[in-house]
Symmetry: C2
Subunit: 207 residues, 2 copies
DNA sequence: TCTCCTGATGTCAGTGTCTGACATCACTCG
DNA sequence: CGAGTGATGTCAGACACTGACATCAGGAGA
C-alpha cells in the first residue's frame, strides 16, 4: 500500500492524476450549470479531459457519479455501530452511530445542500439514494446481529434508524441553526412517542 | 364514465381491448421465461400485438410494467388510514391500514412471489420498488396530518410503518403458514421493544 | 539496454431505452 | 356526410451503456 503510494508519487508522468475526482467534479459543475438531465456523460468526460468510455470504467452509471461518497459514509456508520456503547434499546445503538456522521456533514454542508437539491429534483437520483440507504440499513442490521441482536429486531432497529436519518437529514438541509445530530435526536425521541402504546405506564400491565 | 363504458361495450371492433393488461401479462410471461434483462421492450410489445412505441404510451418505463398495481395498493392503504380507529400510538393507525392489505395479497400470493423474485434479482427493480414505498410513506404521512398528527410524528409513523411492512412482506413471501397480517403484527411488536428505552417501567421516571 | 508485461486510456461498433414529430384510420358527433 | 377524436403505427434520433480490440508509457527482469 504505502509502497505503491511512494512509487506513485515518484513519477506522475503519464496521465493527469485523480481521474475519478476530476470526473466527479466536472459532473457536479455541469449538473449545477445546466442541470442533470441536460448533461451527457460525454460532456462530463470531455470537461475532465477523458473519454465517455473511461467514465464508465470509474462509475457503473451516470447517476453513480453523485454517490461515490456513500461508501465512506457507510464505513463510518458501520464502525460506529460496532463501537457504540451498549443500550437498553437496540435503536439507540443505531442512533448513536448515525450521530457520528454529524461532523462529516457539518464540514460538507454546502456540497450536501447542492447535491440534495439535485437529488430532490430527479426521480432517477432519488431511486439511487433510496437503494443506497436500504443497503446501508442492511449493513447496519448485520452489524447489530454481530452484537447479539436477533432478527427481526436487528432489521427493524436498522430500518427505523434509517427512517429517522432520512427525516433528520431533510430537516437539517433546510435549517442553518442546528446540526444534524440535533435533528437525529429529535427524531429518535419522536419515534418513541409515536410507537408507545401506553401514554402513561400506570403499572406493569398484566402478562 | 358509465356512458363511455356502455358505448365502449357496444362495438369492440377497432383494436383488441385491454392493451395495458395484454402488455403487463406479456411482460410477466417473458420475464419469467427469459429473465428481465434479456427481454426487450420490443419483445413485450410484439407478444402483446403492439408496438414498442405503444408500450411507452402505457408505461413510462420498462420497469414500470411490473408496478402498475401499486396505485391500487396505495388507494387501499390511504383509505384505511383515513378510516382506521383512533389509537394511542399513531403507528397503530398505520399498522392497521397496512394489515388491511392482507386479503389482497392472500389472493395474489403466487403472482406476488414471482414478482418478488424478479425484483430481488434486479437492482433496477429494487430501486423502483423503494421509491414506490417512499411515495407511499409520504402519502400516509399526509393522511396522518389530516387526522391531526403533527410533524415529524406523522412522517416518522409513516416511515416506521413502511419499515415494518417491508420486513413483514419479505418474511411472508417465504412463509406458507402465516398471512401477511401476522408478520405485520409481529413486526409492530418487535419495533416497540427495539425502541423502548426502559426495559421495565419500574415507575414513571421523573422527567 | 532490450524486451516483455501491465494498466490506464482510447477507438469503434454496436444494442437497447426512451422521445418527439408526424401519419393513419375506424369510429363518433353534429 | 364531413370534421374531429383517439388509439395506434412509423420513423428518426439522442443518449446510456457494453464488449472487443488498440495504444503506449513505464516498470521489471534478462
Amino acid at each position: 500500500m504505502s509502497v505503491s503510494a511512494i512509487s506513485y508519487a515518484r513519477h506522475v508522468a503519464r496521465w493527469e492524476p485523480n481521474a475519478l475526482e476530476r470526473l466527479s467534479q466536472a459532473a457536479m459543475e455541469l449538473f449545477v450549470e445546466r442541470g442533470y438531465a441536460r448533461t451527457t456523460v460525454e460532456d462530463i468526460a470531455e470537461r475532465a479531459g477523458l473519454t465517455e468510455r473511461t467514465f464508465f470504467r470509474y462509475f457503473t452509471d451516470k447517476r453513480e457519479v453523485l454517490f461515490s461518497g456513500s461508501s465512506e459514509l457507510e464505513r463510518l456508520i458501520i464502525d460506529a455501530v460496532a463501537g457504540a456503547p451498549a443500550a437498553a434499546a437496540p435503536l439507540d445503538i443505531v442512533v448513536a452511530a448515525l450521530e457520528a456522521t454529524d461532523a462529516m456533514f457539518a464540514e460538507r454542508r454546502a456540497f450536501a445542500r447542492r447535491r440534495s437539491a439535485l437529488v430532490a429534483a430527479h426521480g432517477d437520483l432519488q431511486e439511487r439514494e433510496l437503494i443506497k440507504l436500504a443497503k446501508l440499513a442492511a449493513s447496519i442490521a448485520t452489524s447489530l446481529r454481530k452484537r447479539g441482536i436477533a432478527e427481526p429486531a436487528a432489521s427493524l432497529a436498522a430500518e427505523a434508524g434509517i427512517a429517522i436519518f432520512k427525516i433528520a437529514f431533510e430537516r437539517w438541509v433546510g435549517d442553518a441553526k442546528h446540526g444534524l445530530a440535533h435533528h437525529i435526536r429529535a427524531g429518535r425521541d419522536a419515534l418513541e412517542v409515536v410507537t408507545s402504546r401506553a401514554k402513561r405506564p400506570r403499572s406493569r400491565s398484566g402478562r
